[in-house]
Symmetry: C2
Subunit: 297 residues, 2 copies
């Protein structure tokens, strides 16, 4: 029999994941801060619950995928003074909590410890692959936790993902996710700086992108983001505000580990500047705006 799946967080990633669980025949209970975002999934057969706790009470496997650490704390532990709101309060011993949000390894370990006290299994399992990967059910999961737990929930995760890397104890999934997003943030920033340089010297961005795409520096990420930069249109696939948050988390983690990240720090400054001046919640490839402005100034 299929596990009852609980899904908390119906953003750009959560919604397509929910659709894939329904398609695969998993009974699905959902909650989201903004209820209207659940409409489509409820029409497709998902059950709405009034709180993360009520989602948890009806589920064998609960997946949280929300935007940042405070949001994770709220849906897992409940906001302060409302401990009957969070998922932990509703979960049965023997059930599994999976957090696919991107947070600090430290928070992942804290949730893992709280779960262990209650006999609940926990995996930190952030994802990469973007909305495209989420829609295709081809996400890549970076997992911290125990092998047995991952094996147990794999049938559930296989409905939404294609690769599952078990990287160590709780926290290791988030560690790798932050390292991954640092890399992705820098790759797109590198493209933006490269385009800024050559366009200021009279070569077109289109020419530069064509050369890059025939070079060793080509990557699937740049293949996807370069056309957005060329069109100067940035519909959010991976919102800039979230990439900004992830680079911040990476730099915080680096500080705690005693590692300096000169290029990462520089890129964070640029992401911060562009975020402040981008009220339209664009994709993170809008980092290129900084350069367009500089070039035209």
């Amino acid at each position: 029999m299929k596990s009852n799946v609980g899904l908390i967080g119906l953003g750009l990633m959560g919604r397509p994941m929910g659709r894939n669980w329904l398609r695969a025949g998993f009974p699905l209970t959902v909650w989201n801060r903004t209820k209207s975002r659940a409409d489509e999934l409820v029409q497709a057969g998902a059950k709405w619950a009034a709180s993360p706790r009520e989602v948890a009470a009806q589920s064998d496997v609960v997946v949280t995928i929300v935007s940042d650490p405070p949001a994770v704390e709220e849906v897992v532990f409940g906001p302060s003074g409302k401990s009957d709101f969070g998922a932990l309060a509703g979960m049965k011993a023997g059930s599994t909590l999976i957090d696919s949000s991107t947070v600090s390894p430290e928070l992942a370990r804290r949730i893992g410890a709280a779960c262990a006290e209650r006999g609940i299994d926990f995996l930190d399992a952030p994802v990469t692959g973007g909305t495209w990967g989420a829609e295709k059910g081809e996400l890549i999961f970076m997992v911290g936790g125990k092998t047995g737990v991952l094996d147990h929930v794999k049938p559930v995760l296989e409905a939404v993902g294609k690769r599952f890397f078990l990287l160590g104890p709780n926290g290791a999934g988030q560690t790798v996710k932050l390292g991954m997003n640092l890399l992705l943030a820098l790759e797109v920033d590198a493209l933006a700086e490269s385009l800024a340089l050559v366009t200021a010297a009279g070569v077109t961005a289109e020419q530069m992108v064509e050369v890059i795409q025939s070079s060793m520096g080509r990557s699937p990420l740049l293949d996807v983001k370069a056309p957005l930069i060329l069109k100067n249109e940035f519909p959010a696939s991976f919102p800039l505000r979230l990439m900004h948050k992830d680079v911040r988390l990476a730099l915080e983690m680096a500080r705690k580990c005693g590692v300096v990240l000169p290029a990462g720090s520089a890129a964070y400054g640029t992401y911060s500047t562009v975020k402040e001046s981008s009220p339209d919640d664009p994709d993170f490839s809008a980092i290129a705006r900084f350069w367009r402005k500089a070039a035209h100034a």
Copy 2:
């Protein structure tokens, strides 16, 4: 009949290019500062000449590929007080000079102007693809100059390259090359920072590379450089001292164009630090040494 090709500069790139011209049946005359580097090509049929000028006197198409701007000035114009040494002094009107070194767009335009005065055609045509591309005859040429000139020398270049991007007037090839190497320098620096971060937090570099290679951030460049970083062995394919020089040229060009490159500037600092402490002339992927030391400190 095949053009007489002159090749000035027999380093990591020049030697395999020379082999490919010989294989394709082009009469080849060569010169290099260190004569012993010509031995292999001379045994394979190339003719040694005593100076760049003498190479030029025997060639229809002269290709220079040396390590930096001062070296280019020396082989093209001759060192000061020795104007009978440089290639320009030997070239016939109607012949073509191609500089495949990486230098500033400004120097490329200066050479172009000097050639024009003498009725010589000039292309700035730096390459990308590394020693691997040079050996396979699959280099990518980024070309500044006139269409007619490129068409004229294409039979020569096709023996060593597979793609030819004509990007604008003299200087445009170097502009794009500097933008390209800025991108490549930042991509490998991004990998190094990402590995520094996760290894300091207890995940192995091997695990991180495996996840990267299944992600959108994968690139042929990282596929080639990651194994060197994992082994901590850096035989020079693209020497760090040259990448350091190229990032410096990119930043100088940026300054002249009024563009700031925060991540590029930060990466330059790191490349400088690693270069100073690397007496062994390693590949530029040795940028990872900075973090290995930091992590082990």
